[in-house]
């Protein structure tokens, strides 16, 4: 007897399974003894394929070594939209768990028929189905006769947490051996037979027009196959990478461009954001009868700059035309969405476009992965049917890929005589936080705006709050203030291209809320931990705060030049809970010494994978806070290298301690973006604790400290 249904059957299918109900689109068995698991989500260095393999192997009772994870592609995979928002375990994981549970039941039933024994007396061990009297068969034996070309039904009951053997354990990631032994997995390292190499010419000037393009220099380069020009889009195709680089260099030398579009003044960003035409939205409103008398109002403004994704690998794609059909290999986070945008640009039926995922480097959101795919498709048109691999330059990756949007956030609180909060008003000014492809009637891909018949530039939008929100993500407090109003002003102009960067607006909003709370607690002379706990009703929220306070020995005595700060958030208000205590040191330059973190992701499928995501998110957030800011003059992005856009290095990385609060019976929640907001706020609060200086404009650098000191004095 292996089926113990102690948890109630879900009444409806998990969202990804409801959208893609055909069981065979998720899981298939080979007669050779393997299980092919086919998620619509993709590996972007977050370890998702391992977590999903664990779930499938667990539910099906097979050794994880038998599980083959199939890369997403438009002809063969369930359409799960985009791999983003820390939703892969929630969406793909639940779908695979449910589908596996149903498939297991289907095979048990088939085995029961074949073996002539009741289902209840059958057991499954590593895919072998056995019963009393040593009767046995297997998934592999039955694979030919069990049809999985049927739709999932809501009745299947997955195992209880106590019955799981793999989920909940820190299984080593399946992709790591290939990566340390340099077995090619990255698209950058993949070569197709007869492959050519492409490079695209882009001006450093923002949205400049290509006025003159002499081709003689490039034509003289050995190995050149084609020069492609369509309006302001231009590129080369060559036999080798060296030749493509040389041809591009020659092309660039002669090219003449118009002036670029005007960019805002990077030193007046908040004022500029607030002065732009914008679409205002009331995100949330809570009203309450006011029983206490308002004594005063405090208002503060917090800002964050544009941030670059800064993938270590420049974006890369391959494309090959066969007649009127094109095949694209991409590290995009959403193969179906990319296909939709390619169809818009190419004015082709989507059936003629195949998009297949291959791994790239970590992207941390919507970088140039999709843009370079269109570049490859356009260049491959001139390749006579041969495949073309296109790689962006470091400079283009840092200046032409979308950025995380700059934000200005104002919070205003009415306080009573005791400094207790009566009313809370939170306003955001920012570009939209997503311009991902495939969502609109117009394409969002860069080259689409460069063609002779150009598409207009797609202005970033925000996902609805019900879907996690964009600029407004995490702007609705989890704290029980009596009343509030949250407003978001989405800019309708976009001189600097923005789209999804890890956490969307959550990093900025959590920084603002948690800094402001710290300021209000300090005004009252109340301990920041106590102040927060007093305003929280959610037990899991209180648990992570209490737990982190305990482990960080909150609050250690203040020493000169050393400070401690707290930050907390529940990601999106519906995701993982995360509380952080930061310890910082310094006077002119701040160094973060230690981050102590407590996190609750519900069921952790792979606890070490969760810890890895939280540690990585914490270190990346530290880099954002201490180092990062996209620089620009009035016509161009000037931070187009690692020298002009420095990130945190090994010698400056803080110690990071992560504690998971294990809740194996709660829904699993994503971990990839939980730490950024709380870490940001914790560092800013620790800087105040150390120096008595409140930095409200990120990043926290020597310059911003001096500016903040001048405001204070």
């Amino acid at each position: 007897m292996t089926e113990i249904a102690s948890s109630p059957a879900p009444l409806k299918l998990p969202v990804s399974l409801a959208a893609n109900p055909r069981l065979s689109s998720w899981i298939r068995f080979s007669p050779e003894g393997q299980v092919m698991v086919s998620p619509g989500k993709v590996e972007i260095g977050q370890g998702i394929v391992t977590a999903l393999a664990q779930i499938a192997a667990d539910e099906l009772d097979v050794d994880i070594g038998r599980v083959q994870m199939v890369r997403a592609s438009t002809p063969a995979s369930p359409n799960e939209g985009v791999t983003s928002g820390s939703l892969s375990v929630q969406q793909s994981g639940r779908a695979i768990r449910h589908a596996s549970a149903e498939i297991r039941q289907i095979f048990l039933s088939a085995a029961s028929d074949r073996l002539g024994v009741g289902i209840d007396s059958l057991d499954i061990s590593d895919g072998t189905i056995s019963g009393p009297g040593n009767v046995r068969t297997s998934y592999w034996e039955l694979a030919g006769e069990v049809a999985l070309d049927r739709d999932a039904t809501p009745g299947a009951v997955p195992k209880t947490s106590a019955q799981r053997k793999l989920a909940g354990n820190s299984i080593q990631r399946l992709d790591i051996p290939d990566k340390v032994f340099a077995h090619p997995r990255f698209i950058h390292d993949s070569a197709l037979p007869g492959m050519l190499h492409g490079r695209v010419l882009r001006s450093e000037l923002s949205a400049a027009k290509l006025v003159l393009l002499p081709e003689d220099g490039a034509r003289a380069i050995a190995g050149l196959v084609a020069i492609v020009r369509d309006g302001n889009f231009a590129g080369v195709v060559s036999e080798t990478e060296d030749s493509a680089e040389a041809a591009l260099k020659a092309l660039r030398k002669g090219a003449a461009w118009s002036a670029g579009e005007m960019l805002p003044d990077e030193f007046q960003l908040a004022g500029w954001l607030k002065a732009q035409p914008a679409e205002p939205t009331v995100i949330d409103k809570k009203t309450a009868p006011q029983s206490r008398k308002k004594s005063r109002t405090i208002r503060r403004q917090y800002t964050r700059p544009y941030l670059a994704h800064g993938s270590i690998a420049p974006s890369c794609a391959m494309a090959q035309w066969t007649g009127d059909r094109v095949h694209v290999w991409t590290h995009s986070q959403g193969v179906y969405f990319l296909r939709a945008d390619l169809a818009l640009v190419l004015k082709m039926p989507i059936e003629n476009i195949t998009v297949e995922h291959m791994e790239g480097a970590g992207c941390y959101g919507h970088n140039a992965a999709d843009d370079v795919a269109l570049d490859a498709v356009l260049l491959a048109k001139a390749a006579g049917g041969r495949p073309v691999r296109v790689l962006w330059s470091r400079e283009d990756e840092m200046s032409h890929a979308p950025f995380g949007a700059a934000m200005a956030i104002e919070i205003e609180a009415d306080l009573d005589e005791q400094g207790e909060i009566l009313d809370w008003r939170h306003s955001i000014w920012s570009n939209g936080h997503t311009a991902r492809p495939g969502r609109a009637a117009q394409p969002a891909l860069l080259a689409a705006t460069e063609l002779a018949n150009p598409f207009p530039r797609y202005i970033s939008t925000n996902p609805l709050q019900a879907h996690g929100g964009g600029a407004d993500r995490n702007s609705i407090p989890l704290y029980d203030f009596p009343s509030w109003q949250i407003e978001c002003h989405r800019l309708l102009t976009m001189p600097i291209r923005t789209s999804a960067l890890r956490t969307l607006g959550a990093q900025g909003n959590v920084f603002a809320i948690e800094s402001f709370l710290d300021e209000l607690a300090a005004e009252r002379g109340e301990d920041p931990v106590d102040f927060r706990l007093r305003h929280l009703w959610d037990a899991r929220a209180k648990d992570v705060i209490r737990s982190v306070a305990k482990r960080a020995n909150w609050k250690p005595d203040r020493q000169t030049g050393r400070g401690y700060g707290l930050g907390f958030a529940r990601y999106k208000g519906t995701g993982a809970y995360c509380a952080v205590v930061a310890e910082v040191e310094g006077a002119e330059d701040i160094s973060v010494k230690r981050l102590t973190i407590s996190v609750d992701v519900g069921e952790a499928i792979n606890p070490d994978g969760v810890a890895n995501q939280i540690e990585g998110g914490a270190i990346q957030a530290t880099s954002w806070v201490l180092k990062e800011r996209v620089r620009f003059d009035n016509q161009r992005i000037t931070s187009n290298s690692w020298t002009s856009y420095p990130i945190l290095r090994f010698s400056a990385v803080p110690e990071v301690q992560v504690e998971l609060i294990l809740r194996p019976d709660s829904e699993p929640l994503g971990a990839g973006e939980a730490a950024h907001g709380p870490v940001t706020a914790a560092i800013a609060n620790a800087v105040f604790d150390a120096l008595g200086v409140r930095v409200r404009d990120l990043p926290i650098t020597r310059d911003s400290l001096i500016a903040a000191m001048e405001l204070t004095s």
Partner: protein, 156 residues
């Protein structure tokens, strides 16, 4: 074009190429070694690091002529799944990466460190890796992995 000879992962190699070509272009192009990764082309990120003699260098910024008659080691020469280098074993044991694009360069910087200093401190490791960028935030795991490999090598 002149022929340039060097030892690549212990194998005598000679190549007919422009001596001013970058070592990275030669390795990834005609020699088809995709372990060293292109990241910036400007010696700013370390993704293409290889060992020349006993020092880690950025292959993107190393002209081919400069490695004539020298020993060049890439990640492909460090170890294999069948015969892993202690660093590779340790990176698996510590799950010391996320996306892994930077990791071949980091392994080479670490291997060069251990050649010169078999008993590094944590600060030594951070110093040796300071020119390598990791964007995923796996730094602390990588430092632990290098220290673990050093201990394993010392215990032999």
């Amino acid at each position: 074009m002149p022929r340039i000879r060097f030892r690549l992962n212990g194998v005598e190699t000679d190549i007919d190429a422009d001596p001013d070509s970058s070592l990275l272009a030669i390795l990834r192009g005609p020699l088809r070694m995709t372990g060293p990764h292109f990241g910036c082309g400007a010696n700013e990120c370390g993704a293409c690091n290889v060992i020349v003699g006993d020092h880690a260098v950025a292959a993107c910024d190393t002209p081919l002529w400069s490695v004539a008659d020298k020993d060049v080691t890439t990640i492909e020469g460090l170890g294999s799944a069948q015969n892993p280098h202690p660093l590779q074993r340790a990176f698996i044991a510590e799950q010391a990466l996320q996306c892994g694009y930077c990791v071949s360069g980091i392994l080479m910087s670490a291997a060069a460190l251990l050649m010169r200093n078999p008993t590094p401190s944590s600060a030594d490791v951070k110093g040796a890796l300071d020119r390598n960028l990791c964007r995923c935030g796996s730094h602390n795991r990588m430092v632990r992995a290098v220290l673990r490999a050093a201990e394993e090598m010392a215990a032999r």
